[in-house]
């Protein structure tokens, strides 16, 4: 399978990349690691007229702590996130994206801009309450993860904007866990749940739970969070809260799982993710 023809440019500055997007019109696309875009182009589900490759643009790599948050460059590959345990839940999530080869090439910025709700990182962005920086011809703006994912593979990133960096609040002292259910390890999640828990002794001071592939966008399991916050972190209370994980959701059935089965999986994955957060 060979992509349709396109023009290619690899600008050496962010300004030139944005200008190339402006000049390229609506069929121009940014290329990061290409592990979402190139498969779509090979299947001819995407046929951009121009690819603007970001690989020579400086300043888009790396992880750096600044006060209470990490700044992660958009071109940082999943493999780098995986081996950065200080990122907590984001490192754990990155470690189970597809397979090692894909993790070497796929990037956090590319994955978030692609906005596939079956992919692993978006829900983790919701529960870390991350923000992304978008740079366009009219300047720079920040968008919270809660406002980033608009619909199925549709994000708030404008056609002429580059997602340059992700700001991840450091959840010091929080435990975290990710439970992903799939048939083969390199597959997308049928359903996955990520959790971060802040315990005060045996009490749940705060908890956030994210759901993957339960809607066109990643979700927070707010009913389950509310049920557990302030409660004793006993197995019974965790189980009771997790029973609410699918509340308000209506996931579309697909080849792998029916709506009912996905809701069941959300409850089970949420329970496991909360419970394992206490140990880590």
């Amino acid at each position: 399978m060979i992509p349709a023809e396109f023009h290619y440019t690899a600008p050496e500055s962010l300004e030139d990349a944005i200008q190339a997007l402006v000049d390229g019109g609506e069929d121009a696309k940014l290329l990061a690691g290409g592990h979402s875009l190139i498969p779509l182009m090979k299947l001819r589900l995407a046929a951009p007229s121009l690819l603007v490759d970001l690989r020579k643009v400086p300043g888009l790599h790396g992880i750096e702590r600044q006060d209470g948050a990490f700044r992660v460059g958009a071109l940082t590959p999943h493999r780098k996130l995986e081996f950065s345990p200080e990122l907590g839940i984001v490192a754990k999530v990155a470690a189970v994206i597809a397979d090692p080869q894909v993790r070497h090439r796929g990037t956090i910025g590319g994955s978030l801009a692609h906005g596939d709700s079956a992919s692993d990182l978006p829900a983790a962005m919701l529960i870390t309450e991350a923000e992304v920086t978008l740079q366009g011809p009219d300047g720079q703006r920040s968008v919270t993860a809660a406002d980033l994912f608009l619909d199925y593979m549709t994000t708030a990133v404008g056609e002429q904007e580059v997602l340059t960096e992700i700001r991840l609040p450091a959840l010091d002292g929080w435990g975290s866990s990710y439970h992903k259910f799939n048939r083969r390890s390199e597959d997308w999640a049928m359903v996955a749940a990520c959790a971060v828990v802040k315990a005060n002794g045996s009490t749940c001071e705060d908890v956030r739970i994210g759901l993957t592939n339960m809607a066109a966008v990643p979700l927070r399991a707010t009913a389950a969070e509310d049920a557990l916050r302030g409660q004793e972190l006993s197995p019974e209370n965790i189980a009771k809260a997790a029973e609410l994980a699918a509340e308000g959701t209506d996931p579309p059935s697909d080849l792998n799982a029916s709506t009912e089965y996905k809701k069941h999986l959300a409850r089970v994955m949420a329970r496991r993710a909360i419970a394992d957060s206490l140990a880590a």
């Binding site: 023809e5 290619y8 290329l31 290409g34 592990h35 090979k42 493999r79 597809a98 090692p100 080869q101």
Partner: protein, 161 residues
């Protein structure tokens, strides 16, 4: 459609190619440089038969454009060892019958070699995780895992069925 120049260092040899931007790295290797040891399997980034090393890291060359490798170092199965001096992972596949039909083998060996470069003494579990992106449709995983552990100097008796 216009072509663009791509400079590739493949197995230590520098090449400058004029390619269409849409040319995939695997096709540049196979069709332009006649390095047909790298296989096209699923062509959808699942099976890993096309695995090569890009600057030492295992990547799937069916999911990369050749232009993305401009100026980089690529190692294919042909560059891993020679007939007289096989790479330890190649030697171990030979000794442990690590292949059946052989189609997935170049990718398996490249994935295994990348693992050992990063982690010279992996557990069986680590080997299996490192091969998550490589499919063997003969389902010959047992001897593949055994081969990689053997290359790492681990006794094959440690491998469970």
């Amino acid at each position: 459609m216009s072509t663009v120049p791509v400079r590739l260092n493949v197995n230590g040899v520098k090449h400058t190619l004029e390619v269409e931007p849409r040319l995939l790295l695997v096709h540049a290797l196979r069709d332009k440089l006649a390095l047909t040891g790298t296989h096209v399997g699923c062509d959808t980034s699942n099976c890993g038969a096309c695995t090569v090393h890009l600057n030492g890291e295992a990547v799937k060359s069916c999911t990369m454009l050749a232009v993305q490798a401009d100026g980089e170092e690529v190692t294919t199965i042909e560059g891993l060892g020679t007939e007289d001096d096989l790479h330890p992972v190649q030697e171990a596949f030979w000794n442990n019958h690590g292949l059946q039909c052989g189609y997935c083998t170049p990718g398996m060996i490249m994935a295994g070699a990348a693992l050992l470069a990063e982690n010279p003494d992996p557990s069986e579990t680590e080997v299996r995780h490192a091969l998550e992106g490589n499919l063997c449709r003969c389902t010959g995983y047992h001897n593949i895992v055994k081969s990689i552990l053997d290359a790492a100097g681990r006794s094959s008796s440690e491998v469970s069925a």
